[in-house]
């Protein structure tokens, strides 16, 4: 007998897990290929983290600067990723992003316009030319709503407030998924010809994060449990500018668009500290005085970018350094000032409200700060996972047959550091590819989908186990989650050392033991304590993968910074770390070589240096 009654069984040719940008784009593609598609959303439709993306979507449309092209976008992405990126993915991404953005417009998205009526593009860190199509600072909302409103008319079935806890496999191939719906806590078995993971990030493993409760690394952990490989897991992006005050909003994102529009970073002495440390690889492209930086943000093509628009990893470390050196703001951040532009332009307050309406609103209502008059206080926040499920560049299939991944939960495009704006283009380009290929794979497999009863039975038992334990000392799921977040923040955060990470591994082992004892009270109806308990398993898998990969990389590169190995090591620049489950059930780490770019791509990289 299956615990808790027989689960509902649902069949689709393609099952998409996740309903952010990547999941919706994959579902639309698979549906267009004529197969039956189901989408599982952990929250309500349209609430996924894509909605929080602010700055824009990167695509070399060349509407604002005709020197831009896919080649420049490709080279920028590789440089930003410190050449650990999969070059074929970076190529496909740069080539296909413009079509994916234009397609959104055909589905009803409205972007800000140039004077001649085309899509306007803005400057962003690491992009050589104005490249981000945007709508004020609410581009993510525009994108997810466009995909949602288009998607609901494509014959796709949505399963809102449903969480998948396990993938079902048959003979090494993924044939479905097991999960629960939140409302009544009933189990669901999905039978599918192919599964696309589009579950997003892992930010909830850290105390300070821009991510919501959903981002517990489900996709990465589901893939790992099904035998797939994860790669680049040491590369966690700490966005340089999260809110630091009031405490309740610590970590909430402050868009890079503030800096793109001319915002500057200052320490408590009023010093514009970003001019103090410009990495050699970027010196040629970075302004060496304040006036030139300002002119760049205002579209002067002869000017070079201000140092505030260096890559996110670098800006985050500079801010961290100022705070650690005692030059931070009152609440432990630094100052981000956009109000200063009133020295340069007329009607600055109206201009700021027009360009950054969401930021104005957010600071006014949550912090009581008027950003047209006062500087913001900001500090680094856990934002994005560059690593994830290892996928084939063309098809997005993982190393397990029938299992695909796209968007943040997949790896390869961003290498050691993601450029702002490349996540929204990533999810469009590779969401579509995953959907296309999953549909084709599902067709080729036919309708023979045997879901092994033993796996369903085991998944049901595991999901109900927390109800069978009695609540006691130290086994409250919220406490376990909180302890994990504190530990990862303190020991595997923005600056890492071997000793601290070894302590983290011991801590993770202890937390794994506690996770197996967590108990929940109440019943199965919409019970967040239970949901939190079940999310812990995924959080522990990704936290261990991050820690093991970060320990193995004894150098500093991109988002990964080792205090005990502060320099880059050329040899390790050719290596990526893969983790997967070993035959004995423990996590194994392997080194693989980076994929060298084709001669043509190598030539483009050299030309753009």
């Amino acid at each position: 007998m299956t615990a808790g009654g027989a689960p509902e069984t649902i069949e689709h040719d393609v099952l998409v897990i996740g309903a952010g940008g990547a999941g919706l784009r994959a579902a639309i593609a698979a549906s267009a290929a004529g197969v039956s598609v189901g989408v599982v959303c952990k929250s309500l439709l349209g609430k996924a983290h894509t909605v929080m993306a602010e700055g824009g979507v990167a695509a070399a449309l060349a509407n604002v600067d005709d020197r831009d092209s896919w080649k420049v976008h490709f080279a920028d992405t590789m440089r930003g990723g410190q050449y650990l990126n999969d070059p074929r993915m970076a190529e496909l991404h740069a080539k296909e992003a413009p079509d994916r953005v234009r397609e959104l417009e055909a589905w009803g998205a409205l972007f800000d316009r140039t004077k001649d009526g085309r899509i306007l593009q803005r400057n962003f860190g690491g992009h050589a030319y104005p490249r981000l199509a945007h709508v004020g600072d609410r581009t993510g909302l525009e994108m997810i709503r466009t995909l949602q409103d288009h998607g609901i008319h494509q014959g796709i079935t949505f399963y809102m407030e449903c969480t998948v806890t396990r993938l079902l496999t048959d003979g090494g191939r993924v044939v479905g998924a097991f999960g629960y719906e939140r409302e009544r806590g009933r189990f669901r078995v999905f039978r599918a010809g192919a599964v696309v993971l589009a579950t997003g990030g892992i930010g909830r493993s850290f105390r300070i994060t821009s991510n919501s409760w959903e981002y517990t690394g489900d996709g990465q952990a589901l893939a790992y449990d099904a035998g797939a490989e994860l790669v680049d897991m040491e590369f966690v992006q700490f966005h340089p500018t999260g809110m630091v005050w009031p405490p309740s909003v610590r970590g909430i994102l402050v868009t890079e668009g503030v800096r793109g529009e001319g915002g500057i970073l200052l320490n408590k002495d009023g010093r514009r500290f970003m001019f103090d440390d410009i990495p050699p690889a970027y010196q040629k492209q970075t302004a060496d005085n304040e006036d030139e930086g300002w002119r760049y943000t205002q579209g002067d093509k002869s000017a070079r970018r201000p140092p505030e628009l260096l890559t996110r990893d670098h800006v985050a470390r500079c801010i961290n350094r100022e705070i650690k050196a005692g030059r931070g703001s009152p609440h432990g951040g630094v100052f981000l000032d956009i109000a200063w532009i009133k020295q340069r332009i007329k009607n600055a307050p109206e201009h700021i409200k027009k360009k950054l309406p969401g930021m104005y609103h957010q600071f006014m209502e949550l912090a009581g700060v008027d950003i047209t008059e006062q500087p913001m206080e900001v500090g680094p926040t856990t934002h994005y996972m560059m690593g994830g499920v290892r996928v084939d560049a063309e098809t997005q299939m993982s190393t397990v047959s029938g299992l695909y991944a796209a968007g943040e939960c997949a790896a390869g495009l961003h290498g050691a550091n993601r450029l702002g704006g490349n996540s929204l283009s990533d999810l469009l380009v590779f969401g579509k590819r995953a959907g296309d290929h999953a549909a084709r794979f599902s067709r080729e497999q036919g309708k023979q989908r045997v879901v092994p009863a033993a796996q369903v039975e085991a998944a049901s038992r595991a999901a109900l186990a927390p109800f069978e334990r009695s609540a006691g000392d130290g086994n409250n799921p919220y406490q376990v989650q909180h302890t994990l977040q504190e530990m990862m923040q303190d020991l595997v955060g923005i600056v890492r050392t071997r000793a601290e990470m070894e302590r983290a591994l011991e801590g993770l082992a202890a937390l794994q033991a506690r996770e197996s004892r967590v108990a929940v009270t109440g019943n199965r109806d919409y019970n967040p304590g239970w949901h939190t308990a079940l999310d812990l398993a995924s959080m522990l898998v990704v936290s261990e993968a991050i820690t093991r990969s970060a320990l193995a990389r004894t150098e500093s590169r991109g988002a990964h910074f080792r205090d005990d190995h502060p320099q880059k090591d050329e040899a390790q620049g050719k290596v990526r770390h893969v983790v997967k489950r070993g035959p004995d059930g423990t996590m194994r780490l392997e080194r693989i070589s980076v994929t060298p770019p084709s001669p043509e791509l190598q030539r483009i990289i050299e030309e753009q240096r």
Binding site: S43, L44, L45, G46, K47, A48, H49, V51, M52, R102, E105, A106, G108, L110, F111, D112, R113, D116, G117, R118, V135, G136, R138, L141, E142, R145, D149, H150, I152, H153, F158, M160, E183, S212, W213, P246, P247, S248, V249, I252, L253, G358, Q362, E365, L366, A367, N476, Y478, Q479, H482, V520, T521, G522, D525, Y526, N527, P528, G529, W530, T532
Partner: protein, 248 residues
């Protein structure tokens, strides 16, 4: 440390009651923080929806001291803490559990509205040219975060339960966003009048008052739609042309 009392509705589909909890108060705290604090320490099964915590996703809608609000954007310092802060679910939707309601009706309604239908592309490369001014006009409606607070406060839905005859302010805003989209060529006027019940709105403007995105729902979306609908359906010259088979 200062504390305050939070009087939270606990219940399920059939019954429930307000229950008091104490929570510690810190600087800048919002109502959702108090709910989380209570959930983590006192009531692990307290059901609540939330995601972004920054007023951008529209998940944490509830009624705070009787006012429809996003819990993540309601600061405690703006509330009288000498009295208990009452937190109840949105009352216009069926309760599921605690602060969570069944909002699935909204998702069904949206599928009944004719989707975006663009005019043929303007340029040879298959793209369109649009003026920023025209984009800005539709932009106000596209800010909507689908928190459904406007639906919650609308008396046509809340008191009269006309869910099968009236789509509510949220979807009139959605229709306005489509009707005022610079590229859209579909005509939703007849459907708005008949299937979507625009006539039920009698412009009390409660929806505008509660909108956390400050969309001027009544004046900028509903009234212009009403005018378009009336213009099409009740213009005597158009009616005459229709009778003699010469127009819509």
């Amino acid at each position: 440390m200062a504390t305050a009392t939070f009087r939270i509705w606990r219940g399920d589909r059939t019954s429930g009651a307000l229950k008091d909890y104490r929570a510690d108060i810190t600087d800048g705290m919002v109502v959702l923080d108090a709910v989380h604090q209570i959930q983590a320490a006192q009531a692990p099964d307290l059901a609540v929806r939330w995601n972004c915590k920054a007023g951008r996703c529209g998940s944490c809608s509830a009624e705070v001291n009787g006012m429809p609000r996003l819990m993540c954007m309601t600061r405690l310092e703006d509330l009288p803490l000498e009295r208990p802060v009452t937190i109840e679910p949105m009352r216009a939707f069926p309760p599921v559990r605690d602060l969570v309601t069944d909002v699935s009706w909204n998702y069904k309604v949206k599928t009944t509205i004719e989707p975006f239908t663009p005019r043929p592309p303007d340029a040879a490369d298959g793209t369109w040219r649009m003026d920023q001014g025209d984009v800005d006009r539709a932009m106000e409606f596209r800010k909507c975060i689908e928190c459904f607070l406007c639906q919650d406060v609308c008396h046509v839905l809340r008191e009269h339960h006309l869910h099968d005859q009236f789509i509510g302010p949220r979807f009139l805003v959605h229709a306005a966003a489509l009707e005022m989209h610079p590229l859209d060529v579909a005509d939703r006027r007849a459907a708005l009048r008949t299937d979507h019940g625009i006539g039920y709105c009698n412009i009390t403007k409660c929806c505008t008052t509660v909108c956390p995105e400050h969309i001027t729902i009544t004046d900028n979306a509903i009234i212009p739609l009403k005018e378009r609908v009336a213009d099409q359906a009740y213009d005597p010259i158009r009616a005459l042309l229709r009778v003699i088979g010469l127009g819509a």
